[in-house]
Subunit: 433 residues, 2 copies
């Protein structure tokens, strides 16, 4: 038994596995070089010994730790470690490992082992893995399931993605099996927190935080107990959502296997690059429409990116606040009007302040008062545009049934870039030339 | 008792409070207008009645719900509701409310009420509120504390910010008070997850997720039990971190009170705007250095933002992956070399692909093969720069003891913008003119 902080323990387990792998690799090289000598035989034995040690070590580790170690290893080492994990552990590891690495593991498991692994997995993990495993394998596995595991799967499948019903545990029903159709209200003592199976997990997560829950019952329309949501599921949900949001806001479709083939990684980044290129091309054509204006005063070309950039930055601040308000359910119809008035006033204030700063910058650099005035006005107007679009875009996305966190920033930058160039160069053409 | 999903219940509680407030306001207007009539007297009574109803409703609500309602109300209504909350509930509400709204509540509470409120707060909440309340009030409050509450505060204060010791509960020690200096290893049956008081909460959070924990013991250097970390604290930490990261990545210093005075909101956005302006000014001067080149070929001005933009976008993808790797502790010294090689290869691949696309775009628009070649080369080189800087910046920030999620994106965009303009215009000057 090792004491010590879990993070350190995990790191040292990883190091230990890496050490065993390294020993194994060194011996492997030797074995290939010198053949049929007595030393070779000894080394072969030693190598076997190492693998056994690795196997033993793997058996002592929690499936979540094994998942972490597999995610942290380059593919060659990963393959070797995966081979040493007992089939009855493999299923649990598959449930714990990240979406980015699971496909790799599934590809590197033969069909029989996979079926064996899945048959030994807990019903809740199995429900999670459904749809993440090949259909053929799945059909084979589900044939051999016990009745309650199969009914667990059917229950999970009956509720929409991201609903409480999808992730609830069935164990709760066991607790009151004596009276399986008892009305929940009959056994409750105080005001409880109860979820409907169709409630979004996100709502459940907020309630768990708010009331410091460990678990909560899930009921059907008539108040009958269906199962239990537990805090570990909620924790996984919150973390997964936050991780996904962080990656999406940088334009990544999802997690990336750190050791995936380079081509897969490159491809993971294409959709976002493509969308951004389209908006950049469009902005470029907006500038193109004012080529003659720029030709007459090249200073415009040096100043125009500032107008676009400050619009994008303030707009993204508004977008972040609105998305947060939407997620917290704090944007009631009444609050919406308040919000847009507030963001407009903030934009007015900031537009006057930063517009003046930037106008002054233009005057200092180019000794041209008219250019300074154009700069100031363009920044001011672009901040107003940014505020309106920053409030509207996330709300419109949500009304359209889309995730407001996804795409809002791209759409906003598209508008503030194009409008920034258009306002600045358009004003210049009107007033300067 | 109300059944139903907690999120709906909370929304309807908010609506109910808003309804009561509205009734109250209507009557208030009446009362001011018509005086000393019999009807007025009745309405005055009705108004009193409404306030009593509001008070009763508030008493039934969970402190976290009250916090939510206060956050969702404009300042006038907020003030009225805050006044109806009993002092013994006010402390708990102060612990639950967001950092953005707490200062407002503290300002609108007279000193006596505040002291009374804090004296009735649970020791754990009190530890959380320390440093968030005026020093004078704090001194007064801490004088009147019971011995164990005071020792709880001292324990929490003894550990660094963001450590497990800061948030642990002392209750655990009660459980084994019979043998207060028992060695933890003596009473443990299986391999437990144990935290050191100085471990970062972030590590604890990862362990709670990994092992599906509900609570875990905290020990000192000699393995002696100090307290207990519980999953509700971990949940709050994960959510708060995710929320902060989302706001910071858009350049907001922290949460904003939706109903704060406009000037405060405007000011909350200045630091980021200022930093971004500096980088935009710098990029503008880089372009300024090539004014004569642009003067000879205005097409350069229309194409240059594309080069800067694609560099920023790919670089931010790399930054997001590296930050994630750092947070998961998956970037071992060995993995670092692997990562930079991988990101460089991805940049090479994507540089060839997207460089060609953009070169082609330039040729199609301007029928100038040399311009296309310059475009292609500049995009290719800027993607390489973005990959290197995208890996280096978060790692450098972490080595310098800073939060890699904060500032990495600004620094990266600074480099990719300036280098994008420099590479494209520099190549044009060399090759075209």
């Amino acid at each position: 038994m090792q004491l010590g902080p879990p993070q350190e323990r995990l790191q040292s387990a990883l190091m230990e596995v890496v050490g065993l792998l390294r020993k194994h690799r060194v011996l492997e090289t030797f074995t290939h070089r010198q053949e049929t000598t007595r030393r070779d035989l000894l080394e072969h034995l030693q190598q076997k010994q190492n693998l056994v040690e690795l196997q033993t070590r793997c058996r002592q580790l929690h499936p979540a730790d094994l998942a972490y170690i597999l995610e942290s290893l380059p593919v060659e080492d990963r393959s070797l470690v995966w081979g040493q994990i007992a089939p009855n552990l493999k299923g649990a590891v598959l449930a714990e490992v990240s979406d980015a690495v699971r496909p790799w593991l599934l590809e590197h498991t033969d069909r029989d082992t996979l079926q064996q692994a899945l048959r030994e997995v807990h019903a809740d993990d199995l429900a999670y893995l459904e749809g993440r495993v090949d259909d053929d394998v799945w059909r084979e596995v589900s044939k051999g399931l016990a009745t309650d595991a199969r009914s667990r799967l059917e229950t999970a499948g009956a509720f929409p993605d991201g609903s409480v019903g999808e992730v609830m545990r069935a164990e709760a029903t066991d607790l009151i099996r004596q009276a399986p159709d008892v009305h929940l209200s009959a056994i409750m003592t105080t005001d409880p927190v109860v979820f409907a199976a169709r409630d979004p997990i996100a709502d459940a997560a907020r309630a768990f935080e708010r009331y410091d829950l460990i678990s909560a019952p899930v009921v059907d329309e008539r108040g009958k107990l269906l199962g239990l949501v537990t805090v570990d599921v909620v924790l996984d949900h919150i973390r997964a959502t936050a991780d996904r949001a962080a990656l999406q806001s940088a334009g990544l479709g999802g997690e990336e296997d750190l050791f995936a083939p380079v081509f897969d990684s490159a491809r993971n980044r294409w959709p976002w690059l493509f969308v951004n290129l389209l908006t950049a091309f469009f902005a470029s054509r907006v500038i193109g429409a004012f080529e003659s204006t720029i030709g007459q005063l090249v200073a415009l070309a040096t100043l125009m990116p500032i107008v676009a950039s400050v619009g994008g930055n303030t707009g993204n601040q508004t977008v972040a606040l609105v998305i947060r308000g939407l997620a917290l359910g704090q944007l009631q119809p009444g609050a919406f009007g308040h919000l847009i008035r507030k963001e407009l006033t903030v934009a007015l204030l900031n537009g006057l302040l930063w517009g003046s700063v930037m106008g002054l910058f233009a005057v200092v650099i180019y000794h041209d008062a008219a250019l300074g005035l154009i700069m100031m006005t363009a920044v001011f107007l672009n901040l107003i545009v940014a505020a309106v679009v920053g409030v509207m875009v996330p709300i419109a996305l949500q009304r359209a049934g889309r995730d407001p966190a996804q795409g809002a920033s791209v759409l906003l930058t598209f508008v503030t870039d194009s409008m920034g160039f258009f306002l600045f160069l358009g004003l210049a053409r009107l007033l300067l030339l």
